[in-house]
């Protein structure tokens, strides 16, 4: 990928800035720039831009835009509708027309005045944009799921660490929605965690939708980016939350499906509650369906500490040990412990104010790692990615975390990643 802005773009931006400065003389320092009791002075605000401003992106934008310590200066989307709507929100907020509306994310990353970006594109763009943003010195709030393939995660983490960037994953539910699981686990009420049953959705599927005339409001080539070229169809690129065939979340070129999309929350909350967030599974066991079809197939992940996560294990196969302690959330998750005495551990909290968004902004200021640091997001996403590959191959696998490869399975290793469409590269 041409990860750096082309000379012409960079030159254009610099020339534009110089021209604007010249025309705007004499410079007037406004009261807004100086700040007040609520709004910090401009020099203390985090200058932000958004990339991908459809459904989740608009929510993220509104959360950041509402903060007095954020100055929002640019929106970027390949769709005119999202571009226009998100720019209008910013302009209304500030009472100006200053917010830049851009199509190509490289123009955002080429601006030296931007401190941080939030990214909420379809998943097939996450790794490329994150790595490019790190190289450009931006901090990043990245919507979940952080990765589309297993190979992407370590490269994204390396870029974040190399350039000292704050990169937060975007799953607010991990701490907030799964609290009924988190609290008893971290309080030691279950003893040592032993096993988990987790209901997960299906993985993404191939897309064979027919070609439809491409509307002028979308830059289709840039929407596809590194994904294989396939014809425009609104069902292929709609950003709704469905995974049944009428959104990009349904399709393998752009998403891992419900397994990774909702799974980012579901695995995320479970893994956090069970204290597995720094680990990755070592074995992935494929349990085929029974020959008579009465028992469905399921997957078991085993972590290095022995904890098992059973994904969609049929209820008839689940243990009924009366000694087991069970925390039951309303989301199809059961965590079992052995009931032994375990010292309570304080549950980590967000920094700053304003939930996961405030946590990110606070860390941008302090340079601490955020609650949902990228590495934790990558570890979490490894689990559903492993499940997807085992489901696809219908066999058990062994995962070597250090090597980031499957052991003794060359075919599985083929599925670690995929070729990106030129000119995009990791």
């Amino acid at each position: 990928m041409p990860i750096n802005p082309s000379p012409s773009r960079r030159g254009f931006l610099k020339a534009s800035a110089a021209t604007t400065a010249a025309v705007a003389m004499p410079y007037v320092i406004t009261s807004k720039a100086l700040g007040d009791a609520v709004t910090p002075p401009a020099s203390d605000r985090i200058v932000m831009a958004g990339i991908g401003l459809g459904n989740m992106g608009s929510g993220d934008q509104q959360a950041f835009l509402a903060r007095p310590d954020v100055q929002y200066v640019a929106v970027c989307d390949v769709r005119k509708k999202w571009r226009d709507e998100s720019k209008a929100r910013v302009d209304e907020k500030y009472g100006s027309t200053d917010c830049a509306a851009l199509v190509d994310f490289r123009e955002v990353l080429g601006r030296d005045d931007i401190d941080a970006v939030h990214i909420a594109t379809p998943d097939h763009w996450h790794s490329i944009m994150t790595i490019a943003a790190c190289r450009a010195g931006k901090d990043i709030y990245l919507q979940k799921p952080e990765t589309l393939t297993l190979r992407e995660g370590p490269l994204m983490i390396q870029a974040a660490r190399r350039y000292g960037r704050v990169v937060s994953g975007g799953s607010q539910r991990v701490l907030e929605d799964y609290r009924p699981l988190v609290d008893p686990c971290w309080a030691g009420e279950l003893g040592t965690i032993t096993s988990i049953d987790l209901s997960v959705g299906p993985r993404s599927m191939a897309c064979y939708l027919p070609a439809v005339a491409t509307p002028p409001e979308i830059d289709w080539d840039l929407w596809l980016g590194p994904a294989p070229w396939e014809p425009y169809n609104p069902g292929r690129c709609d950003g709704n939350f469905g995974t049944g065939g009428n959104s990009w979340r349904s399709y393998v070129d752009y998403s891992g499906g419900s397994l990774t999309d909702w799974g980012a929350h579901h695995f995320g909350g479970t893994i956090f509650a069970a204290g597995l967030l720094h680990l990755q599974p070592t074995t992935v066991t494929w349990h085929p369906a029974s020959a008579d079809g009465t028992v469905a197939a399921y997957i078991t992940l085993v972590y290095p500490n022995g904890v098992e996560i059973h994904c969609n294990r049929p209820a008839t196969l689940r243990p009924t040990d009366a000694k087991a302690v069970v925390a039951q959330a309303d989301r199809g998750i059961t965590i079992r412990g052995d009931g032994t005495a375990v010292a309570p551990v304080p549950v980590p909290a967000y920094r700053g104010t304003g939930g996961i968004y405030g946590d990110f902004i606070e860390c941008v200021k302090t340079r601490e790692r955020p609650f949902r640091d990228l590495e934790l997001g990558v570890n979490t996403m490894t689990a559903p990615h492993l499940v997807a590959i085992a489901q696809r191959l219908e066999r058990s696998l062994e995962w070597d975390r250090a090597a980031q490869r499957f052991m003794n399975d060359e075919e599985a290793n083929r599925l670690l990643d995929r070729a990106r469409r030129e000119p995009w590269t990791l």
Binding site: P228, W229, R392, W424
Partner: protein, 248 residues
Amino acid sequence: MPFDPTTLDGPFTALAAFEWGGDAAPLGVIDAAVVAAHGDAALTADLEKRLGSVISGATSRAAKDYACRKLSMIGTAASVPVLVPLLTDPDESHMARFALERIPAAAAADALRQALGTVRGDLVIGMISSLANRRDAASVKPLAALLGGDATTAAAAASALGRIATADAAAALAAAKIQPGPVADAVIDARLACADAFLAAGNRGSAQAIYESIAARIGDTPTTHRDRVVRIAAQSGILACLDDTVAL
């Protein structure tokens, strides 16, 4: 239960005529056969031959797209000659790489490397990208030669050398004479990637030399945001090299 190859005749006939929006049910049979081919050399060879025929035949882009995806899972060196002609076709090049990048055989890497000299425009970047993903050490020399090419290609080549991260790759990057700009930025990113790889492998000396070289180039008073970020990377690297308590 062994897979009966004769059940594939109909689905492959359907695949040969497949267009986006068409009936995808026959493709599901082929999907299942590809999974069932694990450990079944005869079925694998049969499927590979059938998929190759789809690619070589007068079939649609959608059919070739599908066949390349399946060959990416089961293809061997035998598929390389079938895929190579697609590499120069702007419509098909990516999907040919989709397969070749994943085929472990050396012949696949050879084909991608040779294509560096035969394809044009963005397709060159595609070859570079796939060779980088394969971390193909044999590609260091031809990639280094591209550092002097057009800016987009040179930046991609630099990035690829950073992914390969061998001593030869690091040397090629260090020797590059690039004017300040996007390509120089890509070379620095790649050199930092090499240094990080060396440090992770316990080769502190080589890593430190790169970090110090980059830090010296930036100087103590970086003037741009990008230079400040690079300085952070280089100085952090130097500290990590000097810190014996850092586990490698």
